[in-house]
Symmetry: C2
Subunit: 376 residues, 2 copies
């Protein structure tokens, strides 16, 4: 039972207690009753995503609605899409400065600050969604990530994911590593660094400009998210070559980033509401993506003639080697990375071992049976 109440909650910028009613309560009721009261708090959350990515963007709205519902409307979090009050690249800075109390975004958008930001989200040949959640929630991962984030005055809770993404849309075919030479591809972060090692030319292009860039051939390829979001952007109108998988995003996990002082100022039961709502938003988003992607990939193939192509083995192998080289370089040169990566790698290798046994055998068996069954 939690009956602690952090009175700093009344004092922080983020926690606004409406005077009248609460003052009456304070003078009339015994102390424990005040502690149980729900003070009015209004926060702002900047999303790292446009609301056109409704499933990812919706993660913050799901959290905000749950927090509001659980506090009888007294703890309100207003969500703004990327760029609306804070440009996406400044979201972490804005949380650090407490311009907004929180952000919902992808850590790997901030690899320019430090590549270590990416490890909380996804790095090439990392873990699938369940494994990344396992690492973050119970494998010591999120503690290590927060230790890293503490130097920015922030901390994070996992905030949903998409499952393994697709490897993107290519104007031409990719039949070997040779086809990557000079390939101008929209891809971000560490993933771009790995593809650059293979000869590609990674391009950082803002979301709104990606479609026209691919359409006019200013870029040769683009990776976006998965069938649902890609279907909405309409890349299939430009090319039918849809490759899989995104080896750089096996289980990309977004985070809710909080200003530490603003969070510390909340009543204990509001902190618990945020923590619980963040977990609920996580499982909700993955389930929602799985349902939407299932419908979308059928639509793309059946109604738009999209061809699903596996990335060639030699591309995967070259990328695997390049990724490990990059990780070794970072371990030598970046103290923050070196504090997390070895623990992450051991966890990954060991959880792979377990998933290979029951989980992957089950999956492979049922997928094969279903693929081979006569059409209904």
């Amino acid at each position: 039972m939690t009956q602690n109440f952090n009175r700093r909650g009344f004092l922080t910028k983020g926690a606004l207690l409406t005077g009248g009613v609460a003052a009456a309560a304070a003078t009339t009721l015994a102390a424990p009753a005040i502690a149980q009261e729900n003070p009015e708090v209004r926060w702002r959350c900047t999303s790292g995503f446009p609301n056109s990515l409704d499933t990812i963007y919706g993660g913050a709205e799901v959290l905000a609605k749950a927090v509001s519902d659980m506090t009888a409307g007294k703890f309100q979090i207003q969500v703004f899409q990327a760029g609306e009050i804070v440009p996406q690249p400044q979201a972490i800075d804005a949380v650090q400065a407490n311009t907004v109390e929180m952000a919902h975004t992808a850590g790997y958008y901030y690899v320019g600050k430090d590549p270590t930001f990416a490890i909380g989200t996804a790095i090439p040949f990392g873990m699938n969604q369940r494994q990344q959640f396992a690492w973050l929630y119970h494998g010591g991962g999120n503690e290590l990530y927060n230790e890293f984030l503490s130097q920015f005055g922030i901390f994070a809770m996992p905030g949903g994911g998409s499952g393994t993404q697709m490897g993107g849309w290519y104007r031409g075919e990719i039949n070997s590593v040779a086809d990557l030479q000079g390939l101008r591809m929209r891809i971000a972060g560490l993933n771009g660094q790995v593809l650059a090692k293979l000869g590609a030319s990674p391009q950082a292009i803002p979301g709104a400009e990606i479609y026209p860039a691919l359409e006019r051939g200013a870029i040769d390829a683009v990776e976006w998210v998965g069938p649902y979001d890609d279907d909405r952007l309409g890349f299939h109108q430009i090319t039918k070559n849809y490759y899989y998988p995104a080896f750089w995003e096996g289980g990309p996990t977004w985070h809710f980033f909080f200003n530490q002082a603003a969070f510390d100022g909340l009543p204990e039961h509001y902190k618990a509401a945020l923590d619980t709502a963040a977990k609920a938003a996580s499982i909700n988003m993955v389930a929602l993506y799985d349902v939407k992607n299932t419908a979308a990939i059928r639509d793309l193939v059946a109604n738009h003639g999209v061809i699903l192509r596996p990335l060639p083995q030699d591309v995967l192998d070259a990328a695997y080697t390049a990724s490990n080289e990059l990780y070794d370089e970072l371990t030598m040169t970046n103290a923050n990375w070196a504090k997390i990566y070895p623990q992450w790698k051991t966890f990954r290798d060991q959880i792979y071992e377990w998933f290979r046994v029951a989980e992957d055998t089950f999956d492979n068996y049922v997928y094969t049976k279903q693929a081979n069954q006569p059409p209904a």
Copy 2:
């Protein structure tokens, strides 16, 4: 924003408002302030599991703690292990009678009432954990399940899962379907019916009696959960033959079952707290199992000489056929089953298609690379 307040919350058996403080508030504060107050509510939850299954049993405690923390200790749910106040087989009846307001158990324990109970949990060759969550949360599954449950005056929210379980411990080897003839195996529910079609003799044995029954050879095989729970029970002291996967439990999902009237009597923000905490408990349990199983399977193999054996292809194929026969029989004979199964099957087949593309390709690639890498 939710500011509705269901005044029946004060009247139901489950919702006990302590008189003194609340009465003072009622006379002193304006009406909206009452609505925001957290009334004292005390509920009881019977778990379908012994607390020795600490991860599954812990799911109800995780929910109870979150609900308490989020209501500043005012909504308390006391969790009892199976048999402590309600025998496991009567948990659904006890919720229906409002003897307890809620239970945390596996629907498939109640196939004796109706086999349709199993479909919310897991049926042979069903979905993996993420797919089952997708079906329940956003694929219309939990709505269908609750429509079925409504005839018992209850409804349910998903409450965690274990991931694909192991296929169990066998005193002898299983090299073909012939080895299943007359095999006395502890296995429950629909799963037992499928194995019976293959010639095995399923045995319903209470948890505490399983180990001695296997030890003295009263049964030939037992399926329990997965490496973590199995390791604790010590089956490896009897036999080293540990088979995978449990084709009958690809993604078993427990539920929180609620008495409908008790739930309806709660303030709206307490209902939201239960809903959010149940989702948080779900993602938390899966992550916890994934971490614990990863350590346990290493322990079993490295320290106890356990041999991981795949169930033979002909066993899987025969069970696949038998399962489909059983499902067809149930569809013909059970109206409740017939209302859910066709929708479930279509969802399963379509989500398999999507998972085969990016997700399974990613998994298979990284598992193979990791398995083939030289030892560190």
